[in-house]
């Protein structure tokens, strides 16, 4: 071999450089060297060995993307999107990538603990699992024996798919129906509006086939319920197919920034723009064609079988005063812009209209979503390829879950506490943020035992101080159990902590919505064994039930998941559990559209018990709905459970099947259930009471989410918090200057219920009149990366010396009250007005 000298090496390098610079090398055929994309493989950078690849599913947010976990020497080292997933196409987000930080969080709780000091003092002793399970079982048993199983409140933050089915089911099997959830903090108003209009909940925007994307208040490229599966399709549609995207938002989010147009809109006024756009569509006749065709399936007046002409006339009458000029005064969006966007949306077919948090976290939230449904209906963009579709997910079978013969529940989940001048006629997803205030209002004795599962009541709800006051009160909550992998702001106020397995250490079947309308079946499997003594709470609930004498066909959640997977049609034939463990994903390849048009066979209405309700145009079965006294379909409790089909002319169709609310099988733009509670059956603009007397120096406080954080759950993920260590308050330079505030100044933000301090971020990306403060930050007990404090059980970590940030931000929920929108009771995160001064 010839010696490679520095000089020769340089000579070579110069030669190859020259070739490349002139591009001559490309005249010839390919040189060797090619890389494959999306292989689902990974190698160690140190040993160069291939890492073990295991398909599983994410849980850093509710989008739950399919992914591949890579394991090296028994340690989880890397996560990537699953290349075969039709939802994700191999993609997860930054949060998903940082899931490893959850498993190896040095502040993690690794064994059961019981409080030794005062509640909230942070003093704990280690106990055994047997002690922990015995204590919990005994307490549940005592309440059952006393005939008050409902004095056990189970409140979860996030629980989906097999976890919901099994854990939720087993909790109910103990006899309590006192089960709280989280949706009133998320998008309950949106779901209720959908239940009032097209029945069921969840809309999928068929991005792959759409030609126009109109977005109101969704930061979908940064964070969303179905984030990455939708987001990557949006960017493909934009760049590959030139699809235009327009975003209305109170601030310039990254989504707004990457849209073709950002249209600033005053907080809480999206509905006014929907109404005005509908006015334009009606007046310009843009509903003709697809819209008219779809109107046949809509209820727009009291009569379900009204003519399309009458329907249009009724809508025109209702919308006459909702002009672009009217909406412009309310929203700050120029009237001409409203008209232009309305025309573009109505004439670019098919098109999607995305609306999320920005449009619904307000007094009119539920009606805002109903107004969106009207606009989608009048343009024929409902459940059509490229339009706004009824969501499709996996339909797993479930192994048998035992049931309690009797079930009792406390009536505490669906309303505002006494004294608050609010009522919510359709809290179909509960007003769970009002549970702690209502426990306080009800006084001692309401509950004897409280269990939080994947839930941080102190941090997640509004009025943080109010929450802490209730959580610390041993008279109101005599015994509190927190099930959590991590020490945090709410476990801090528990009496016993059960260390849960993280999502990367457990098994589930999963079913999140598929943007392709096909429906993806996928599973989550453990990549590593649960650290320390942590256990999947599904396993713990099985043990508790078994100890209570409630029998199950499985001893672990893994067994339950396996049995369910092996029972599920389609998956079963593909190879069941073994197939899913190896492949992680399965689908039937069939996209589902126009489900409402499906004809129902005549035999269905000939079944015993099925009756026709003339008023609703619905065939239903009162017996099946357990209705003993038939007061008519609309007015018999839970009649929707007996829904069979809708009569349209001489046809029998599946229609828009109701869920949770007795609506007809029509798309109810005009709502009988709303009329029956004395509300306007058509969407109606009613200004938020707080905004009636807005002072010149008031600012709208709006909250938002950031691309590298999820709610309250990721601040102790070190790779995410090093990018976003603290939140700052976005202010427009004009508002800042008027208050003598400069970028980076410490400011005071004061609402009706409290005051907080935070750093100002003075930016043109904020709209005048608004101050925007993100969630995620300002933790006080959640680990070193989130709060600067090690947990009481925190271990040393090699990265400790590298933590460079000193500020951890401020949580806006300290100054946001718990309130509800006027229909669903959904938390009005963005209706708060504040005064801002330099600190």
């Amino acid at each position: 071999m010839i010696q490679l000298t520095r000089r020769n090496f340089m000579k070579f390098a110069a030669a190859s450089g020259a070739v490349l610079a002139t591009g001559e090398g490309m005249k010839s055929k390919a040189l060797a060297g090619t890389v494959q994309t999306q292989t689902g493989r990974d190698f160690s950078p140190t040993t160069k060995k291939e890492r073990q690849a295991i398909p599983t599913a994410c849980w850093q947010c509710v989008a739950r993307d399919s992914m591949i976990g890579f394991v090296e020497d028994g340690r989880l080292v890397k996560l990537e999107g699953h290349p075969k997933s039709i939802r994700g196409n191999g993609h997860i987000c930054a949060r998903g990538m940082a899931g490893i930080n959850q498993v190896y969080d040095p502040d993690r709780i690794l064994y059961p603990m019981k409080r030794t000091g005062a509640r909230g003092e942070g003093k704990w002793k280690r106990i055994t699992w047997d002690e922990a399970v015995t204590e919990l079982t005994d307490r549940i048993k005592k309440l059952r024996d006393e005939g008050h199983p409902e004095k056990f409140i189970f409140h979860y933050g996030r629980m989906k798919a097999s976890a919901a089915k099994l854990i939720g089911g087993l909790v109910e099997a103990t006899g309590t129906g006192s089960i709280g959830n989280h949706t009133s903090l998320c998008e309950a108003g949106k779901w209720t509006a959908q239940e009032l209009t097209w029945g069921g909940h969840f809309d999928n925007w068929d991005i792959d086939k759409t030609k126009f994307i109109l977005n109101f208040g969704s930061n979908i490229l940064e964070t969303h319920t179905n984030h990455m599966p939708v987001a990557h399709r949006i960017m493909n549609a934009k760049v590959d197919r030139g699809v235009r995207m327009v975003t209305f938002d109170v601030r310039m989010s990254n989504t707004a920034a990457k849209s073709d147009e950002w249209i600033p809109i005053r907080q809480g006024t999206d509905m006014a723009v929907f109404l005005a756009m509908t006015n334009v569509v009606l007046n310009k006749g843009l509903y003709k064609g697809d819209g008219e065709e779809f109107l046949k399936y809509c209820k727009c007046t009291e009569k379900h079988d009204d003519t399309v002409e009458n329907k249009v006339e009724a809508l025109k009458k209702h919308y006459a005063n909702y002009t672009p000029e009217w909406a412009s005064k309310i929203s700050g969006v120029p009237a001409a812009k409203i008209e232009q966007i309305a025309t573009e949306y109505a004439t670019t077919k098919p098109a999607v209209l995305i609306a999320y948090r920005g449009a619904i976290t307000t007094y009119n939230g539920t009606d805002s979503e109903r107004a969106r449904m009207v606009l989608n209906s009048l343009t024929g963009n409902i459940d059509n390829p490229g339009g706004n579709c009824k969501a499709v997910g996996a339909g797993w079978a479930s192994a048998k879950i035992p049931k309690s013969e009797t079930k009792k529940a406390k009536d505490i989940f669906d309303g505002a506490p006494k004294g608050q001048p609010e009522s919510y006629p359709f809290p179909t997803h509960h007003a769970s943020h009002q549970v702690l205030p209502r426990i306080k209002a009800s006084g001692p004795g309401t509950f004897e035992l409280a269990l939080w599962y994947c839930y941080t009541p102190a941090y997640a709800n509004g009025d943080v101080q109010g929450n802490i006051d209730v959580l610390k009160d041993e008279k109101l909550l005599p015994f509190v159990v927190s099930v959590d992998p991590f020490y945090g702001d709410s476990t801090h106020y528990a009496d016993m902590i059960l260390p849960d397995a993280t999502y990367l250490e457990r098994y589930d079947w999963e079913d999140m919505v598929d943007p392709t309308q096909i429906g993806e079946y996928y599973i989550r499997q453990a990549l590593v064994k649960p650290l320390g003594e942590s256990r999947d709470f599904g396993d713990v609930m099985i043990e508790i039930c078994n100890r209570l004498g409630i029998k199950t066909d499985y001893k672990t959640k893994e067994e339950y998941v396996q049995q369910s997977v092996d029972m599920t049609p389609g998956v079963k034939e593909a190879g069941g559990w073994e197939y899913m463990k190896k492949n992680g994903v399965w689908n039937d390849g069939k996209a589902k559209y126009y489900s409402y048009k499906k004809e129902v066979p005549a035999e269905a209405i000939k079944e015993a018990g099925v009756v026709y309700d003339e008023e609703a145009g619905v065939y239903w079965n009162p017996e099946k709905a357990h209705v003993t006294e038939n007061k008519g379909y609309f007015r018999s409790k839970n009649a929707y459970k007996g829904y069979v089909a809708t009569k349209m002319g001489d046809k029998l169709i599946a229609g828009f099947k109701p869920d949770k609310i007795n609506k007809s099988g029509y798309m109810e733009l005009w709502s009988q259930p709303l009329k029956d509670v004395g509300m306007n059956p058509l969407p109606e603009w009613i200004p938020a009471p707080e905004h009636a007397n807005i002072a010149p120096d008031d600012l709208h406080l709006t909250t938002f989410k950031v691309v590298v954080q999820t709610h309250s759950r990721t601040a102790n993920c070190k790779w995410l918090s090093e990018i976003y260590p603290q939140n700052q308050a976005w202010m427009n330079p004009k508002d800042a200057a008027a208050r003598g505030i400069k970028d980076g100044d410490r400011i005071k933000v004061k609402s009706a219920i409290g005051e907080m301090e935070i750093l100002a971020h003075v930016t043109e990306n904020a709209q005048p009149g608004h101050i925007n403060i993100s969630h995620h930050k300002g933790h006080w007990a959640y680990g070193r990366y989130a709060s600067g404090k090690k947990s009481p059980v925190g271990a040393d970590d090699p990265d400790d010396a590298n933590i460079f940030w000193k500020g951890f931000g401020t949580h806006p929920n300290w100054i946001i009250p718990n309130k509800g929108d006027r229909i669903a009771g959904y938390q009005r995160w963005n209706d708060t007005l504040v005064k801002v001064t330099k600190a």
């Binding site: 060797a32 997860i92 790779w719």
Partner: protein, 282 residues
């Protein structure tokens, strides 16, 4: 082909004419399987139209290499301009540019300043022989660091105008007299993955296909096609970072909006250029 390093321009072209060989088989440790082949020339393209600033690349890279806190190998820099309501925002992803260096020198500043750039073993890539070093350039264009050879002078850190190199507190130097000193980290183009036939971690990760990696010497590769379509290599003034430094980056930007021109940092100041190569969301 001639043996050794006295490789001529003609030889390279000749090698280029040889049949293509597909590698990417499990366990393959070298990119080039056929000895008659010339090496590839890896290039990295960032499509600024597609980048939404999601930081999936950033975090994917942290995981792939378990990068310590406060250090990054891939970052996203937001670029803001204009006054409300006509304000705009775009994102510039950054990583090591794997520069070719000026043609007369043939190596980028980091290699040039490395006193141990030639102290490693002799290796072969296809028919091309090369010598490794502490910081060295592989025939396929990757700028790599061999921590066994690094003496910890840290001159490369200062030499890089982009500030992409950092002192890595998780890596100790191997030289007997320097065992207490820390090593150096930076983007490797995921050499350990690419040599096994799979794309770099951040390319796999990017949900929006804003990161494209491939062989410039292969006219059928996606990078070659994009280079041609967007005239990336002939228009380096507009498609690479700090073209005035004449480092000849092999990270190109598809930038129809002219975002790069708005992205400025003080690269002459040692502390500032390194502070710039951090990821931070406000």
């Amino acid at each position: 082909m001639k043996k050794g390093i006295g490789i001529s321009r003609r030889d390279v072209l000749k090698a280029g004419g040889a049949t293509a060989t597909v590698i990417a088989v499990s366990g393959a440790s070298a990119v080039v399987a056929n000895a008659a082949e010339g090496p590839p020339r890896w290039a990295f393209i960032v499509d600024l139209r597609r980048c939404v600033g999601c930081r999936t690349c950033t975090v994917s890279c942290k995981a792939e290499f378990d990068v310590p806190l406060g250090r990054w190998r891939a970052v996203i820099k937001p670029v803001d301009w204009g006054i409300y309501p006509n304000n705009r925002r775009a994102f510039v992803p950054r990583l090591c540019n794997h520069c070719a260096g000026e043609s007369e020198k043939g190596v980028p500043p980091c290699v040039e300043k490395c006193p141990e750039a030639q102290s490693g073993e002799r290796l072969k890539m296809g028919d091309v022989r090369y010598r490794t070093g502490a910081t060295y350039k592989r025939p396929d264009g990757m700028i790599l660091i061999d921590m066994n050879l690094c003496i910890g002078c840290y001159k490369c850190i200062d030499a890089c105008p982009y500030g992409v190199r950092y002192i890595d507190p998780s890596v100790k130097l191997k030289r007997p007299d320097r065992e207490k000193d820390f090593g150096i980290g930076k983007c490797t183009f995921c050499e350990h993955r690419v040599d096994n036939g799979i794309e770099p971690s951040c390319v796999q990760a990017c949900p929006h296909s804003a990161r494209i990696f491939g062989d410039m010497n292969d006219p059928d590769s996606k990078v070659s096609k994009l280079i041609k379509e967007f005239n990336l290599d002939k228009n380096r003034e507009k498609t690479t970072l700090l073209p005035q430094e004449k480092t000849v980056p092999h990270v190109f930007y598809i930038d129809p909006e002219g975002v790069l021109g708005r992205y400025k940092f003080d690269y002459k100041d040692k502390a500032k250029k390194q502070a710039e190569f951090r990821d931070n969301i406000v």
